[in-house]
């Protein structure tokens, strides 16, 4: 699993803690995200710019659940993005 897929997975998992399976339902609606297995948490990014896919997911949650959910997304990946060059980090997570 590459770093962007890991980011998407961490975000969905963190949202799942708060809103339950709805987090997966919403993630499915984001273009470019393919849920391979909700049970094992395996996901894939199908097409498009990976950073855009992450931004779309974060924006989707924020549109539905507000700023608090945006912060949750950031916290969920704080450790993961530490090692990434700033230019590679999706803008919604900076």
């Amino acid at each position: 699993m590459d770093i962007f897929e890991q980011i998407v997975k961490n975000i969905i998992k963190e949202q799942e803690r708060i809103i339950g399976p709805l987090a997966w339902d919403e993630a499915r609606k984001v273009q470019g995200i393919k849920i391979v297995s909700q049970f094992t948490g395996e996901i894939a990014i199908d097409n498009g710019d990976e950073r855009d896919v992450v931004n779309s997911l974060v924006n989707r949650y924020e549109r539905l659940f507000g700023r608090a959910s945006h912060e949750v997304c950031k916290q969920a990946v704080a450790q993961l993005i530490l090692t990434m060059p700033r230019s590679s980090i999706p803008s919604s997570l900076i």
């Binding site: 803690r17 708060i18 809103i19 539905l64 659940f65 507000g66 700023r67 608090a68 959910s69 949750v72």
Partner: protein
């Protein structure tokens, strides 16, 4: 075609409803987040508490084992001196030695009580369940106490109904229960009363045994009643009468009765009104 005012209103109200809905969803999300964080904090605290409790139980176990060892040793010293193993004892020395022996015996019993409570808490108290005649058990224990009761001005009245009283139980642990309840009649006797009465009652139904022990002692206040069967629950008023109480006696008793699938409850009309302990046990 221009939209009618009615249509505009519907549009407006639709937009406002959506905004309300969105606001509500976001508020719910915030509350859920707070709840998740609180639950996680509570889980963490609960884990820490469990560890602390475990460590405390181990420490109590260790300390009481050590202390019990010291008291047992010194009690044995008093016992062998009193038995004349080290030569004759003068009449002046004997009472002091007897007092030392009595005090150490009490100390060993007290420490043992704390150890038992720690074992119950740890779940390491094992029960040797066998078929026993509960009527016999009660009768034997009561008779053992009759003389001591008499010395303290307590009269014993036994009222046992006919029938079968066979239960599945651990004889030693149930004897402990009876001794504790009987000791309490002595400890909580009204000192200003010359004579007192302790009533034992035993009756049964097809499925249960009802056993009660009633005294006319100092009674139990409403406040003390709340702590009666709790761990270390020394009642504010009872401790004035029984200063040496560890607060573990009735906690152990309740646990033993519960392990026998039974129940125990206390009744009292208050200070100086006596008390009654009722035990219910299933018949085998």
């Amino acid at each position: 075609m221009p939209a009618s005012p009615k249509n505009d209103n519907t549009k407006e109200s639709g937009g406002s409803e959506q905004a309300d809905y969105s606001h509500l969803t976001q508020e719910l999300y915030k509350r859920s987040l707070e709840l998740v964080e609180l639950r996680e904090k509570a889980d963490k605290l609960s884990q820490e508490l469990e560890i602390a409790n475990d460590q405390q139980t181990k420490l109590i176990h260790f300390i009481t084992h050590q202390v019990k060892g010291f008291f047992t040793k010194s009690r044995n010293v008093f016992a062998s001196v009193l038995e004349g193993d080290y030569g004759p004892i003068s009449s002046e020395t004997r009472p002091i030695l007897e007092e030392g022996f009595k005090s150490d015996t009490k100390a060993v019993e007290t420490v043992q009580e704390i150890l038992n409570a720690a074992n119950i808490k740890k779940g390491t108290l094992t029960y040797d369940m066998k078929e026993i005649d509960f009527k016999n058990l009660v009768s034997n224990e009561a008779e053992k106490y009759r003389e001591v009761f008499k010395k303290h001005g307590l009269n014993l009245e036994l009222n046992f109904s006919e029938g079968t009283y066979t239960i599945l139980g651990d004889q030693a642990q149930l004897e402990h229960v009876l001794r504790n309840l009987l000791d309490n009649c002595l400890k909580y006797k009204q000192l200003e009363k010359k004579e007192g009465l302790v009533k034992f009652q035993l009756k049964n139904t097809a499925s249960k045994i009802f056993f009660s022990i009633e005294d006319d002692g100092v009674g139990i206040t409403t406040e003390d009643m709340k702590k009666l069967f709790t761990e270390g629950g020394r009642g504010k008023d009872s401790v004035k009468v029984n200063v040496e109480s560890t607060g573990y006696g009735l906690y152990i008793v309740k646990n033993i009765i519960t392990a026998h699938k039974g129940t125990i409850r206390a009744e009292s009309e208050g200070h100086c009104k006596g008390s009654r302990f009722v035990v219910e046990l299933p018949i085998k």
